[in-house]
Amino acid sequence: MRIWSPIVSSAIAVRDLRKSYDGVEALRGISFEVTAGEVFGLLGPNGAGKTTAVEILEGYRNRDGGDASVLGYDPGDSPRAMRERIGVVLQHSEITPLLTVREAHLLFAGYYAKPRDVDEVLEVVGLMEKRDARVKTLSGGQKRRLDLGIALVGDPELVFLDEPTTGFDPAARRSAWEMILALRSLGKTILLTTHYLDEAQRLADRVAVIRAGRIIRLGTPAELIGDARSIEIRFLKNGEQVVIETKNPTQALNELTAEALATGYELEQLEVRRPTLEDVYLELVDEYDGDVE
């Protein structure tokens, strides 16, 4: 029997986490650690196991196997001391629709030993103007802000955000991102799930790409882009698209342009680009598609 000792500064440590529903494996042994103050993204398509992983860490579901530690507690017991220190934004949940926004915050503030000032939280999530509106009258985006406000009212060290911007229009997404980045600058640790690549790239310090219950890549967005693919050089030759992938773009470009100059040929629509996380992700998911079942 091995002794498992997660790094002490880890807000979350998970090793070989497993979970099945009715014989279907939702998590097939995932491992990762989230250090305090970090924004960690779980990125993957729907059904990859992101929510299962997060709900185990939030104390909602029991794991079938593996180890997990959240702020030093075993989330399987979901101890009250752990619940004092985490904030949760679920994918689907409601707040009693008959309360006002401010009352809902007051209600939740009453559950915590050291809550934050309610009006301060309303300011942070941008609901000050809506504070006396009934919850049922809020728009989708405003309800999501309310979810976030209620998750923050207990002044948590660790915040779980399960697909915080799904269904948002681009403007709402931008403002949600700003809010999340503001949280990070307050020193909160954040575990974020998303199926939006730009979101992971913009917000997360590190990203675990999860697919069919397994982590298939883990690193900073830059690392994921850097080690997965080479630089692309594109241009048109006789009206046809030519794509060159290379690890040595300087040399490749030099050869290409030298030849073009020598022959008096124009490299039309010449473009040199680094792959985005999206390219890497799609490639990864494709690559692993054949691997499943």
């Binding site: 104390g59 949940s93 009693t96 030993a113």
Partner: protein
């Protein structure tokens, strides 16, 4: 304790703000009493009709509030993810359930007082002959029907269907148990069904303390049957109650 009072304050605020709940749970029994009180004559079996009906409607109110109202509230909150969200806050789950129960008791106690006031003003109904026993019966009834309500909430799957299911249980039960008038003329098989229903026994107990001035413990069989139903509901709840929506 502080958390309990905090939660109770919000439970009450939410209840009274919900017009559907306030009308369906609180006003409806009063309305029925006003209606039935005007239909029946002066006496039922030599007892003032207003008193007999009032005893029956205390029973209907308890079943409607503690069983029906509680089951509906819990199922709707569960399916909306409200219970799930609460589960990850430091609020202890038992504190939450205790609060919901207390809030229900407050609503029904108030309703019992309102029924008494309506009765004495409109129909010259009696005040409880054994007030302490009457108060005890109210608490007991709420406890037993709340046990059944939580049990039912654990079995009912969808928020859309819960009102219908609850009414299909509560209304016939109230009818058979004599909430809306005497059942002596009912066919034997209906009386046989009534003989196992918890509401029949709760109304017996209420009748004893309210009209006959008996002790709350005068009828051990009635207490036993009522308690057994409550415990059965609680047993189902302990086995099947969940905080998570049944989405999976």
């Amino acid at each position: 304790m502080t958390v309990l009072l905090h939660q109770l304050k919000f439970e009450q605020r939410v209840f009274w703000r919900s017009r559907e709940a306030a009308v369906f749970i609180f006003i409806f029994p009063l309305l029925l009493y006003a209606l039935l009180g005007s239909i029946y004559g002066d006496e039922i079996d030599g007892v003032p009709a207003a008193d007999v009906l009032l005893a029956g409607l205390f029973g209907y109110g308890a079943a409607n509030t503690a069983f029906g109202g509680l089951a509906i509230t819990l199922v709707i909150r569960r399916e909306a993810g409200i219970l799930k969200r609460l589960r990850s806050t430091p609020l202890p789950p038992w504190t939450y359930l205790a609060t919901v129960l207390l809030s229900t008791l407050m609503v029904f106690a108030l309703q019992a007082v309102a029924l008494l006031v309506l009765g004495s003003l409109a129909f010259d109904a009696s005040m409880p002959a054994n007030p302490l026993g009457f108060a005890g019966a109210i608490v007991l009834g709420v406890a037993a029907f709340a046990g059944l309500g939580v049990g039912a909430a654990s079995l009912i799957r969808s928020a859309e269907g819960v009102s219908a299911v609850v009414n299909v249980i509560v209304l016939p039960m109230a009818f058979l148990s004599g909430s809306f008038g005497p059942t002596r003329e009912f066919p034997v098989f209906l009386q046989a069904i009534a003989d196992v229903l918890p509401l029949t026994y709760f109304i017996d107990i209420v009748y004893g303390v309210y009209l006959d001035g008996e002790s709350l413990f005068a009828d051990p069989k009635a207490l036993g049957v009522l308690a057994a139903w409550g415990i059965a509901g609680l047993a189902v709840a302990l086995k099947r109650f969940t905080w998570m929506p049944r989405e999976r």
